[in-house]
């Protein structure tokens, strides 16, 4: 059974088209979810009004006419920033998760592998309870401190791993250890916190959520995450090669240690600048890449963009459900992501064993 090169090329381009189709479908699903999310909420404005507000705000010269001031406020200052933040956070976390899984060659790795979730939690708790912050940017006491402690965790993990020769095992072990250290410190703060309110605030922060969304926050978060994401995507080839092992990577001209260092920094900066604003949003960063792997395969040139879209879709979908399910109050988004995401993931896990995508 031999295939001629022409057939082979056809087969290959069919495979490529299938991948692009998958990415495009997820993109369409994301657009639909955005529209749904725009048009439902605790108050009245519907889709047509929402679109009027968005177009009149973004293209004022078009003179589309304007919606009522109330609708305008709800759409422009409440719903839209929240949607944008959900997309940034979902995409950023999933991209970071996908690249770290690839580089550390471990499917259990999430974007919090370097201990940064506990570190961010500790930084935030420190600021909430004692009002102490290493980095206080005007009004950004908690956010700034959470961010800085992420970087501190990364530097500690990096230094330990560096001594041990920058192997993926050493990064994972150091990350787990540093994570436990910060989570112990976080528990300590909660235990000795003088006020009950502060403890509640910490728990609330740790649960994570997109309710802090505002254009001002997005303006800080978006450029950092976008640049980090683009740089992570340029690593796709390197990550592909690294998944065959560090020795093989070197023999193919890839400096595995340098790639690991670069991606640790990119990943930390992206994740830290998201979770400083949103609190710890888990699960998306672990599962979105896995769902994408099942749908599109493991070529990271396709996998990373696919994971980004999938992460955005999952987080926005979950947040929309979280907002709508017990109106007028809302559920923490983390609960919804797991409740919806886990059954879907288990379905894929079982289903894909029989019908393997090629």
């Amino acid at each position: 059974m031999t295939t001629s090169t022409v057939d082979l090329k056809k087969l290959y381009s069919k495979d490529k088209k299938k991948k692009i189709l998958v990415i495009f479908s997820i993109f369409l699903a994301l657009i639909v979810t955005i529209l749904i999310s725009l048009s439902f909420g605790a108050s009245s404005p519907r889709l047509s009004e929402a679109l009027t507000v968005i177009f009149s705000k973004t293209f004022p010269f078009l003179n589309i006419g304007s919606a009522s001031p109330l609708s305008e406020t709800i759409i422009w200052t409440i719903r839209l920033p929240r949607i944008v933040l959900a997309i940034i956070a979902g995409a950023g976390l999933a991209t970071a998760g996908a690249t770290m899984q690839g580089i550390l060659r471990n499917p259990l790795v999430s974007s919090y592998i370097l201990g940064i979730s506990s570190a961010a939690g500790f930084g935030a708790a420190l600021a909430i309870v004692f009002g102490v912050s290493i980095a206080t940017f005007a009004g950004y006491l908690v956010i700034g401190n959470a961010f800085i402690f992420c970087l501190i965790a990364m530097v500690i993990v990096y230094s330990i791993a560096r001594i041990r020769g920058m192997s993926s095992e050493s990064v994972i072990l150091a990350g787990v250890a540093v994570g436990f250290l910060f989570s112990a410190l976080l528990s300590l703060i909660q235990y000795i916190a003088p006020e009950r309110n502060a403890v509640t605030a910490i728990v609330f922060w740790l649960m994570g959520g997109l309710y802090t969304a505002s254009w001002q926050n997005i303006l800080i978060c978006l450029p950092i995450v976008a640049i980090a994401m683009i740089l992570m995507m340029t690593q796709a080839w390197n990550i592909n090669v690294l998944s065959m092992g560090e020795d093989v990577a070197v023999s193919l001209g890839v400096n595995s240690k340098r790639i690991l260092s670069i991606n640790m920094i990119l990943e930390t900066v992206a994740t830290a600048s998201i979770i400083s604003f949103t609190g710890i949003i888990g699960f998306v960063d672990l599962i979105a890449p896995h769902i994408s792997r099942m749908l599109i395969g493991n070529d990271h040139r396709y996998l990373i963009p696919c994971s980004a879209l999938m992460g955005a879709l999952m987080l926005l979908g979950a947040d929309t459900v979280a907002r709508l399910i017990i109106m007028p109050t809302e559920l923490p988004v983390g609960i919804v992501t797991s409740l919806i995401g886990v059954p879907f993931f288990i379905y894929l896990l079982i289903h894909k064993r029989r019908h393997r995508f090629s």
């Binding site: 059974m1 031999t2 295939t3 090169t5 082979l8 090329k9 087969l11 290959y12 495979d15 690839g102 060659r105 471990n106 499917p107 340029t234 796709a236 080839w237 592909n240 090669v241 998944s243 065959m244 092992g245 020795d247 093989v248 070197v250 023999s251 193919l252 001209g253 890839v254 400096n255 792997r293 395969g297 493991n298 070529d299 040139r301 393997r356 090629s358």
Partner: protein
């Protein structure tokens, strides 16, 4: 094109693995590195490929010091096939072979890269497997995929770490015939580390026999594979005769099983007693 190794020594954390290795490989040669487990065969290959870093001026290609080359430049000259290949995530055969183009492409794959990948798969007879998962293939097929990947690097020197050790006799012959073909018609120099002395004898132009990190003997199969050398390096008795191919053939001889038999029976007797 020639590869020169010049007084190479290497060790991990004070433990010396390779001692004063001198070695010359010319284009068109199929070279075998033989020796007992732990004699430094794999380490030597990894040093050649700079997976392990060595002192400057110990490994030269065309009299140029490889430690002055970037690993990317080196990867265009030298391909490496490891002993076992496990991928952390499932990849198709096509994707695995395409990784060999890594030294040449940064992001987008050109027509030329596609062409080379298809060509290498056809050369090794694995084109019909292109869209299969690498991890689902048999050991022999996987080995061919990895050789195709190394060839997609368009190297002049190919290093293979025990390419035949997990294969059946037919696949062993197939792989070595491919390597022989590469040296004879395509102008590659191929260096394999190999345990099977008879395969090395049948196919390789030159043998380097390592003993505890030093080259104990080198030369043609006839010169290296002598009963005396085998006894000195492996510590076993062997009959060496000449096969119908004109190459030496090695048959291990154990004159006395008595020692092992008594040891083993003693061990089992003790176990029986324990049961009671």
């Amino acid at each position: 094109m020639k590869l020169t190794i010049n007084n190479l020594s290497f060790g991990y954390a004070g433990v010396s693995i390779l001692k004063n290795i001198d070695l010359n490989v010319e284009i068109g040669e199929l070279i075998a590195i033989v020796g007992p487990n732990g004699s430094g065969k794999s380490t030597l290959l990894k040093c050649m490929n700079r997976i392990l870093k060595t002192k400057p001026n110990s490994i030269l290609i065309n009299d140029q010091d490889t430690s002055k080359l970037s690993i990317k430049e080196l990867s265009k000259l030298m391909g490496y096939v490891p002993q076992t290949s496990v991928s952390a995530f499932p990849f198709t055969v096509f994707d695995v072979v395409m990784m060999g183009r890594k030294p040449y492409v940064h992001w987008s794959i050109g027509e030329r890269d596609n062409g080379i990948v298809f060509q290498m798969m056809t050369l090794l007879g694995i084109d019909h497997l292109a869209m299969r998962q690498f991890s689902e293939l048999s050991g022999g097929e996987q080995q061919k995929v990895i050789i195709a990947r190394a060839l997609a690097q368009q190297p002049q020197i190919l290093l293979l770490d025990e390419p035949t050790s997990s294969l059946d006799i037919k696949h062993q012959l197939e792989i070595l015939c491919i390597l022989k073909g590469l040296t004879q018609s395509k102008g590659h120099a191929v260096i394999v580390s190999i345990h099977d002395l008879n395969l090395a004898s049948r196919f390789c132009d030159k043998l380097f026999m390592l003993k505890q990190g030093s080259i104990y003997a080198m030369g043609t199969p006839e010169e290296v594979l002598t009963a005396k050398n085998i006894d000195a390096v492996y510590g076993i008795k062997a009959d060496v005769s000449i096969s119908t191919t004109g190459k030496p053939i090695v048959i291990p001889v154990v004159n006395d099983f008595a020692d092992f038999t008594s040891k083993i029976s003693f061990f089992f007797e003790e176990k029986e007693e324990l049961k009671i």
